[in-house]
């Protein structure tokens, strides 16, 4: 499904895509949102014009995959791949809530077949392979399909010697696919290792939240790791850590800024600057890339 269709599909559901300030006409009237961070009431039109960043406190709201693609790539350049790839229920997982039902709900809510959208695009004129996760789909957890689409994106970048850009947000491995999910960590990391070995540039962007087995695989194996301000990023979730160590976590623990301070990421970049920053990074990484 090309990106334009999504926007259509989502409009019909009264879901508002982020877009350039030049296109406020698409926004339905009279929708107001309360900022999760500063509690300001924001007009939805403003929020969309600001790429879903609160203009009062700078809080970065989640973007859907289509919104993210719209905000990051050169207009009209995105072509999706593997859109039809769909999850099965290999474990016939039925504890509490059947996996199948969760998937149905996710499909309906997001209009997507899985928690990642991959394809080709251009950023600042650079042809790239791109993958964008969508937290609305089962918390953007990684099961077989996400792992497969990620691996294919790495392989496409490798075979075409095009830089890869990945935008991550995820709750972790998808437990409903059990060990098949865990093994996607190894699979995607192995794919990342091959791309790295071949000297093809790879930039990752960590958005809120990025946790668990997903963090501990392909996202942190990039040549340059960026994160959005205030994104929660970590391996183990804060509640489990608190339970284990039986003490309160320090303020700011597991944020982008914490990751920066501890040397784990290259830079914290506000959403409004991401497109330009990635474009410029691609200038550097593509200068003579791959002559190895």
């Amino acid at each position: 499904m090309p990106i334009a269709d999504w926007f259509k599909a989502r409009e019909s559901r009264k879901y508002t895509p982020a877009s350039d300030k030049s296109a406020p006409a698409e926004v339905p009237d009279g929708v107001w949102v309360k900022c999760e961070s500063c509690k300001h009431i924001i007009y939805e039109g403003e929020l969309v014009a600001d790429q879903r960043v609160c203009r009062h406190c700078g809080h970065h709201f989640a973007l859907s995959a289509p919104e993210r693609i719209g905000s990051l790539v050169d207009e009209g350049s995105f072509v999706e791949k593997d859109a039809g790839l769909s999850p099965g229920d290999p474990l016939s997982f039925s504890a509490a809530k059947p996996y199948g039902a969760s998937l149905d709900k996710a499909r309906e809510q997001s209009g997507l077949n899985e928690a990642i959208v991959t394809g080709s695009a251009a950023i600042g004129g650079h042809d790239v392979v791109i993958g964008v996760m969508d937290f609305r789909f089962v918390g953007a957890s990684m099961g077989s399909v996400v792992g497969e689409k990620v691996a294919r994106a790495f392989e496409a970048a490798l075979s075409q010697r095009k830089p890869l850009v990945m935008v991550i947000s995820s709750g972790g491995a998808r437990m409903q696919e059990g060990m098949l999910s865990l093994m996607q960590m190894a699979k995607t990391s192995a794919a990342a290792a091959r791309l790295s070995d071949a000297g093809v540039p790879y930039i990752s962007i960590l958005a809120d939240p990025t946790y668990g087995g997903v963090t501990a695989s392909f996202p942190v194996l990039a040549d340059v790791i960026l994160a959005e301000p205030g994104a929660r990023i970590g391996f183990t979730g804060p509640r489990i850590i608190e339970q284990t160590i039986r003490q309160k976590l320090p303020k700011g623990f597991q944020t982008s800024e914490f990751m920066l301070e501890h040397g784990m990421i290259d830079s914290v970049v506000p959403r409004s600057e991401l497109r330009d920053t990635v474009g410029l990074l691609l200038e550097y990484l593509s200068a003579k890339g791959g002559e190895r």
């Binding site: 999850p87 099965g88 792992g147 865990l182 699979k187 192995a190 290792a193």
Partner: protein
């Protein structure tokens, strides 16, 4: 069978065993009826014992995998390898005793050994953080993986961890990066990698040294994306549903053969490896050696390519 530690699923059996042991201390010379009754009870106990241990549930296997007397990585190494030299440290921050890394010789074959290392005593367990590594443990493993790669030594890795340690310092020092980089490194080492699941296989902390060209598992070892307790507490907001979760997660060796992840299940002594560790050592040693034999003589590039293809094939989708 003397037991130092009774697992939850054994309790009904153990209660009967205790009862009969008590009855047997009585003087039965003038109580022939009671003697007969005891004999019948003994038979019933035998029956229950077989039922209990011959059709172990996933949850029972998890308990066996966590049994305090279950043989640990250290014991497997002691039993199977000669000329062992431990290599310490990540050359960056520390030496994490929750992971063993070093050289060893298995039936004359020089290899690199990796493994999660739980302790036998409380003191050992404190030093080894109960087998749950910090980032420096994974970074040590990576360093030694690269040594194996440089010097053409096959890697034998023993899995037995509840998972990477969930703590503040572990996050501060990059638990996720250490695991991811270990995964990348392990996918690229151009030497045979044989992995043996001997106890717990907890999530990313197990996986970091837990895949390769062959993956064998002891019958009662488990390998899972999440602990049954954590899974239950997410799904049911109640960790007492762990037994259900253990079944749903398909985390036993047998299940994982079915999913195409595990190559071989290594049978354990009756009731679990803790009942007869020597038998488990021998069985695992033989299977590791056989796997290494199979991988002998493969080209470096072929090994890496095939390992990648193994990983690439994992997943179910339409």
């Amino acid at each position: 069978m003397t037991r130092r530690f009774v697992m939850e699923f054994e309790r009904p059996l153990v209660e009967l065993e205790d009862k009969i042991a008590e009855l047997r201390t009585l003087d039965l010379t003038d109580k022939p009826d009671l003697a007969t009754e005891i004999a019948i009870l003994a038979q019933e106990i035998d029956q229950l014992r077989h039922e209990t241990y011959e059709h172990l549930t996933p949850w029972a296997r998890v308990q066996i995998a966590r049994h305090p007397d279950r043989p640990k990585t250290t014991e497997f190494i002691e039993a199977l390898f000669t000329d062992v030299i431990e290599l310490h440290g990540d050359r960056l921050y520390g030496d994490d005793e929750a992971i063993f890394a070093g050289f060893g010789t298995l039936s004359g074959r020089r290899v690199v050994i990796l493994g999660h290392r739980k302790g036998k005593t409380t003191k050992e367990n404190v030093r080894r953080n109960f087998g749950s590594p910090h980032p420096e443990g994974f970074r040590k493993a990576m360093r030694v993986m690269r040594l194996a790669d440089r010097f053409g030594l096959p890697i034998v890795s023993f899995l037995d961890t509840a998972g990477a340690f969930p703590g503040i310092e572990a996050e501060e020092r990059g638990q996720s990066l250490a695991i991811a980089e270990s995964l990348a490194a392990l996918s690229q080492v151009a030497v045979p990698v044989v992995v043996a699941g001997i106890g717990e296989g907890g999530s990313g902390g197990a996986l970091a040294i837990g895949f390769g060209d062959r993956l064998i598992m002891l019958e009662n070892a488990y390998y899972s994306v999440i602990s049954p307790e954590a899974c239950a507490s997410i799904l049911y907001k109640d960790s007492s549903h762990a037994e259900t979760a253990a079944g749903c997660l398909k985390m036993t060796a047998e299940d994982l053969v079915g999913l195409g992840i595990v190559d071989e299940v290594v049978p354990e002594p009756f009731g679990g490896a803790h009942n007869e560790p020597e038998a488990a050592f021998v069985a695992i040693g033989e299977r590791i050696s056989a796997a290494l034999d199979e991988l002998d003589g493969q080209e470096r590039a072929t090994l890496v390519q095939r390992r990648y293809e193994r990983l690439r094939a994992i997943g179910v989708y339409a």
